[in-house]
Amino acid sequence: MAKIVIIDDDPDILDASSLVLHSKGHEVSTATNPDDGFQLVKNATPDLIILDVMMNEPDDGFFLAQKFRRNKITVPILMYSSVSKTIGMDFGVSEIVPVDDFVEKPISPQLLVEKVERLLQLRKENSSCS
């Protein structure tokens, strides 16, 4: 069981995602905008952050991810992307986009659980190594 924060401005996506992860035994808290999300992560010290790429602005998810890294928050980030392929923009994990993996909307619960488990596993391995 892990602590997971989901930041997305769509209440229904928050609802469905929380329920999926909750049913897998994780403790889930949510925020609907970047500012609340940042505060929540600082206070809750989660094991994983799930972050939507587009909230008030088309790219504020990216900026929030960068803000986490600048503030030495190294928790793995799984990013929800929504229109990357439609507009021909292909994101990759990079310095500029400091996230660990992407899930494209609409989200298949099975894929979400797989990716979450993989990232949590990686984090566990990394922390036991160091």
């Binding site: 769509d10 609802d15 469905a16 609907t32 507009i87 619960p109």
Partner: protein
């Protein structure tokens, strides 16, 4: 009788017999002949008429033949003149030739001799005329060319597009001021090797033509940012110019500022990406719920299932509304809205909308104050559009209100406009939200608006409708206090009847 194109001859001689004898003889040979009995008369005729030929007697009582010759030759250099004299001497012959005489006819002369001389003279006359015609033509053509050059330069220099022409050696041949600007050059020297001064990509395009073994008939276009900030964009088109034999003469480079086009392109892709995102969001939400509902490994309570179905319906409903709004906007953009313009009483339109929403307002305990200052004025408009306009605004006043709130709707006439104000004391807007008010898909997102459904397209439709009637919309709002929307539409009042009718039709 002499024909029209008969050679015209002037005979100047003081001897009546000879003068008239020559006249008769020449007329028989199809010449048109004028005669002058004195030198003075000869000069008058000779300088005022265009004679092909003139035969001038050297010795006349009033004037010397040389003087007559001089005067006629000065005025009509193409008239071929002969001096006729019985005192033929070497000196007078030279003098006459110096003064412009073309021949010398010693007296007495035979008919044959005279005719032969005149025929030769006439041939010379025709050559002289042809020479003069050619000279005039040439002068005219030079003038024309000079004029064409000036005209072309004026046109090329006035072009907003940059133009640069290089010859097959890569030397500048022609350019205009816009070319200097777009190429960021202080000056171009004609006939200098220009390629090294150009942007490397432009030079490369020109080189394709210059280095090609054969003449390349196609044009190439490239797009380049004008400066490092990528604020302006140029489209550069290079086209080859062939010689008549098909070899390359040079290359014409046209530089066009396409910044505006690029901006529109950018706006379009932004819009497409916004639309895709907005359409995908409800799909993603419904998809998420359906996956949960169909997933046997997740245990759901009846209440959860019910909620998921309801939320799915809610999101799909919103999606449908959004698609309809988008179609409306696209119709308005393409100006294919079918309008039925009629005289409308705006007060009646607003009244019926308020009645339509009365049940909803009752549920929210909203109080409505509806006031009409005068109920006579009418607006020429399409009823559907007015309905949509005020439905959108009143529904916003209801949606973004709070339980027990108030809505004030007032209609009055101000100058040539009918003014409709819709004031609510609902949740209002923050300053940064007000700025984005008319943007497609913008919706204020905060705790108070979370549960309110909307497409984010309502106000942009409202704005388009108001604009299309040359109206005006103003919005004042304070967060937590409420919002005031004022719409002004041009009025068709009694006083302004004719004027307004013209205005609407135009």
């Amino acid at each position: 009788m002499a024909k029209l194109d008969s050679p015209k001859v002037l005979v100047v001689d003081d001897e009546d017999l000879l003068r008239n004898g020559v006249k008769r003889l020449l007329e028989m040979e199809d010449f048109a002949v004028d005669v002058a009995a004195t030198g003075t008369e000869g000069i008058l005729l000779g300088i005022n008429n265009e004679y092909d030929l003139a035969i001038i007697d050297l010795k006349m009582p009033d004037k010397d033949g040389m003087e007559v010759l001089k005067k006629i030759h000065a005025a009509k250099p193409n008239t071929v003149c002969f001096i006729a004299t019985a005192f033929a001497s070497y000196d007078t012959a030279i003098q006459a030739t110096k003064l412009g005489a073309d021949g010398y006819i010693p007296k007495p002369f035979s008919i044959e001799e005279l005719l032969q001389q005149l025929q030769l003279g006439y041939k010379k006359r025709l050559l002289l005329l042809e020479t003069e015609r050619l000279r005039n033509d040439r002068e005219n053509r030079l003038l024309e060319i000079a004029f064409e050059r000036t005209r072309m330069n004026t046109i090329v220099n006035a072009l907003e597009d940059g133009v640069l022409v290089v010859n097959k050696n890569g030397e500048a041949v022609l350019y205009n001021p816009s070319a200097l600007k777009y190429l960021s050059l202080d000056k171009i020297v004609i006939e200098e090797f220009i390629l090294p001064k150009l942007h490397i990509k432009i030079a490369a395009q020109i080189n394709r033509y210059l280095s090609a073994k054969k003449y390349l008939p196609q044009s190439f276009s490239i797009q380049l940012p004008l400066n490092e900030l990528n604020e302006s964009f140029l489209q550069i088109t290079c086209s080859p110019v062939p010689h008549p034999d098909g070899s390359l003469a040079g290359v014409v480079i046209v530089l066009k500022n396409i910044t505006e086009l690029k901006k529109i392109e950018q706006l379009k892709s932004q819009f497409v990406s916004m639309v895709s995102h907005e359409l995908k969001a409800p799909v993603a939400a419904v998809y998420g719920y359906l996956k949960l509902l169909s997933d046997d490994s997740v245990q759901l309570t009846q209440a959860q299932k019910k909620k998921f179905v309801e939320r799915s319906e809610f999101r799909l409903d919103a999606l449908l509304k959004m698609v309809n709004d988008l179609l409306d906007i696209s119709r308005m953009e393409m100006k294919i809205v079918q309008r039925e313009i009629m005289e409308l009483n705006i007060a009646e339109v607003v009244q019926s909308i308020l009645e339509f929403f009365s049940l909803e307002m009752k549920e929210l305990n909203l109080t409505v104050h509806f006031s009409v200052v005068e109920n006579l004025f009418k607006v020429k408009a399409d009823k559907e559009e007015m309905n949509r306009l005020f439905t959108n605004l009143i529904s916003n006043a209801i949606k973004y209100n709070k339980n027990g709130g108030e809505i004030d709707v007032a209609i009055e006439q101000t100058e040539n406009f009918v003014t409709v104000s819709i004031i609510d004391n609902g949740i209002g807007m923050k300053d940064e939200e007000k700025k984005k008010l008319f943007q497609e898909f913008f919706r204020a997102k905060n705790e108070s608006t979370k549960e309110i459904s909307g497409t984010g397209l309502g106000l942009s439709i409202v704005k388009r409708i108001v604009d299309s009637y040359s109206g005006k919309i103003e919005i004042e709002s304070e967060f937590g206090k409420g919002t005031k929307v004022v719409v002004r539409l041009p009025l068709k009042s009694k006083v302004l009847k004719d004027h307004v009718e013209n205005y609407v039709q135009a």
